[in-house]
């Protein structure tokens, strides 16, 4: 029954060395270790990439990284035709609109990049009003796009060493507002913007209120579409007005500034800018502009 001539059939166990953190007792252990390492690394990388792409898909797509510069104001009339403040009414702009600063092709070409827009810049009617009725009026509308409520966070750009701080605040009526605290002592412009992905073709007007303090400078409002077309409007030396100024501006009257093609595609609006710039006649220096009730109707 024992054909192999083995008189002591017991197997002798091989003593184990003290376990190391990594031990490769067999050739295959090394292969297993390498395979495990590769699989773990691959899995981790795949997880990170998946998280990255999911996060990227959830954030609005930014437009081409063309940094818009503020509009250099064309020749500005000496004073805005601001009506005297009325505590109870908003002065709607007339249909034809009293245009305080009809822009000439020459003046537009002076300032805007890619300039040469022959169309006149139609200024909105600005009026000093007590805020409460206006706010109620705006909020009472059911439809529209409220930038401060529905838009994303504000981001900022500055010229050279100019400074800007963008703060979301609530005004005295509890309505959200955004406060731009700027310093143009070492730069010509500061601006903030919101990334949007909204079809604005259904809207015909933009409304907002602003007030300011500090130095007199130019406030600018701009809309950018997906191909980088910039259109907008600006209000020279208006940033020092401490009373609320209502802006009610037809979108069709926004002036082409630069970039893309001359026509803004309202279906693919990507960014909305507010800027404060120092142009001829402006003081520069420090100041603060508060915006609220920014709405597209």
């Amino acid at each position: 029954m024992n054909t192999s001539g083995d008189m002591s059939p017991q197997r002798v166990l091989t003593p184990r060395r003290k376990r190391a953190f990594l031990s490769f007792r067999r050739k295959s252990d090394l292969l297993w270790f390498a395979a495990s390492l590769i699989l773990f690394s691959g899995g981790t990388a795949a997880f990170i990439l998946a998280v990255y792409f999911v996060h990227r898909a959830q954030t609005p797509m930014a437009i081409a990284p063309q940094i818009p510069a503020p509009v250099i104001a064309p020749a500005v009339p000496p004073a805005l035709p601001a009506p005297p403040p009325s505590p109870s009414a908003v002065d709607a702009p007339p249909a034809g609109g009293p245009n305080p600063r009809p822009s000439s092709p020459k003046s537009a070409g002076n300032g805007a990049r890619g300039g040469g827009d022959p169309r006149p810049v139609k200024r909105p009617v600005a009026a000093k009003i007590p805020p409460a009725p206006v706010v109620k009026k705006i909020e009472s509308r059911a439809s529209g796009y409220f930038l401060l409520q529905q838009g994303g966070p504000f981001k900022s750009f500055v010229d050279r060493r100019a400074k800007i701080a963008v703060d979301r605040v609530d005004d005295s009526y509890g309505e959200p507002a955004v406060q731009l605290t700027y310093d143009l002592s070492q730069g010509d412009w500061v601006q903030c913007f919101v990334n949007v992905r909204e079809n604005f073709s259904n809207y015909t007007r933009v409304q907002f209120l602003f007030k300011g303090e500090g130095a007199k400078n130019t406030l600018e409002f701009k809309i950018v579409d997906s191909d980088g077309t910039n259109v907008g409007a600006l209000w020279s030396q208006q940033t020092a007005k401490k009373a609320w100024t209502v802006v009610d501006l037809p979108l069709s009257e926004l002036t082409y500034l630069w970039g893309g093609d001359p026509l803004l595609d309202f279906r693919r609006v990507r960014q909305i800018f507010f800027a404060v710039s120092k142009k001829s006649g402006d003081k520069g220096g420090r100041g603060r502009v508060t915006l609220r009730g920014i709405k597209f109707l």
Partner: protein
């Protein structure tokens, strides 16, 4: 499995059992019952079912004792046969006791039974080698040699068998030179008498392997295998044994694939001619499992070991060397796989088994304890390791 074993009863076996039962109806003391018992016992022995054959042999022996009287000459031969079976079953103490009784019977008429006395002495020497009693074994072999030299002559087949036994004894004692000389004498005697010297060559292969000369051993095994294949054909029983010896050698030499091929051939032959439930088949299955372990095919190996375990336990009983080897291989497998609970259970069982078979001081017990110590050390069970160290130290000091 129990139903399979029950279902393995053949018509021949059934008729033999029926013959025993019908003979027992005639009374306890009759020759017909004796013949029927011996026939059934021989059948079971031939099938390798020594656990079932052993009580039949004992019954037959007690019957003969009652028929012929105690210590009758006719009792010696069945006693020797029973002793061989006990040895195969690992019941060495019982084997020795029965052999001593047979020797005593033979010695009463030493002139007539001188060759048988020498054979008894050779068997006792083999048992001595299992116990590690080398001095007593030497004395018995020397006495056997003197008897055979005088009675049978230097060149008789009995003397050749004696040289084989002495070669085995010396090899187990680690006296390789003496073993080699004895085996060469056996070859010489076989050649002079035109006898079959292949057993001697196989033992020379075993000797070369024990000396670590794998190449020489492989040459010898292959030579014997070729001759056996020529004489018996591819499917002979001894061919399967030679294939197994060659396979285990190749495994020890690190030629796993070749080893697996030889051992599988051996297993196939044994399954074919002996059946699945023969201990020799289990021996080949264990060898296949050993090689599977070296190939990291642990599930197949475990299945093979467990199958062999069952066969050994049912055929040869709990003390058989084959079963202990199977359990040892399984324990090593569990240890390698870090299944310490199972490994420890088996290693503890092995220590107890070897203590029961050989006593507390035997080298096998020391090996089993060392294995247990290695397992405990791997688990950092310091208290158990210290206890085993203490015991091993006592064994060294002979307490």
């Amino acid at each position: 499995m129990a139903t399979e074993w029950a279902g393995a009863i053949t018509e021949e076996e059934a008729s033999l059992r029926a013959a025993v039962q019908s003979a027992e109806r005639l009374g306890r003391l009759n020759h017909r019952r004796l013949d029927a018992l011996i026939a059934l016992a021989e059948y079971d022995t031939q099938k390798g079912r020594l656990c079932e054959a052993e009580p039949l042999w004992v019954k037959a022996l007690s019957l003969q004792e009652k028929i012929f009287g105690p210590e009758h000459q006719k009792l010696a031969a069945p006693m020797v046969s029973l002793a061989r079976q006990y040895e195969t079953m690992g019941r060495y103490a019982e084997a020795e006791a029965v052999l001593l009784l047979a020797l005593k019977i033979h010695e009463r008429d030493s002139v007539e039974n001188s060759v048988r006395i020498a054979e008894d002495l050779m068997l006792l020497a083999r048992l001595d080698s299992r116990w590690g009693r080398w001095g007593e074994g030497d004395v018995r072999l020397s006495r056997a040699y003197n008897i055979l030299r005088i009675v049978a002559g230097e060149h008789s087949p009995d003397m050749a068998r004696f040289h084989l036994a002495r070669g085995d004894f010396h090899r187990n004692a680690g006296r390789f030179e003496k073993s080699h000389a004895s085996l060469l004498k056996a070859v010489d005697v076989f050649r002079r008498g035109q006898g079959d010297d292949m057993d001697a060559w196989v033992r020379l292969g075993h000797l070369a392997r024990a000396q670590g000369d794998f190449r020489e051993a492989e040459t010898l095994y292959r030579r014997v295998l070729a001759r056996r294949v020529r004489s018996e054909g591819e499917g002979g029983r001894t061919v399967s044994a030679d294939l197994l010896a060659l396979g285990t050698l190749l495994e020890a030499a690190g030629k796993g694939k070749l080893a697996l091929k030889q051992v599988r051939r051996s297993l196939d032959i044994r399954e074919k001619i002996l059946g699945l439930r023969h201990p020799d088949t289990a021996e080949s299955a264990v060898a296949v499992a050993d090689i599977n372990v070296s190939f990291h095919q642990f599930e197949e190996a475990e299945t093979g070991y467990l199958r062999a375990w069952e066969v050994y336990e049912r055929t040869l009983g709990p003390d058989s060397p084959g079963l202990l080897k199977t359990q040892s291989g399984l324990a090593a497998l569990y240890f390698d796989r870090s299944c310490y609970e199972e490994a420890d259970r088996l290693l503890d069982h092995l220590v107890r088994s070897y203590e029961r078979i050989f006593g507390f001081q035997h080298a096998s017990v020391r090996v089993a304890l060392t294995n247990q110590r290695i397992s405990f050390e791997a688990q950092e069970r310091r208290d158990e390791v210290d206890a085993i160290d203490k015991r091993l130290m006592e064994m060294e000091n002979g307490k």
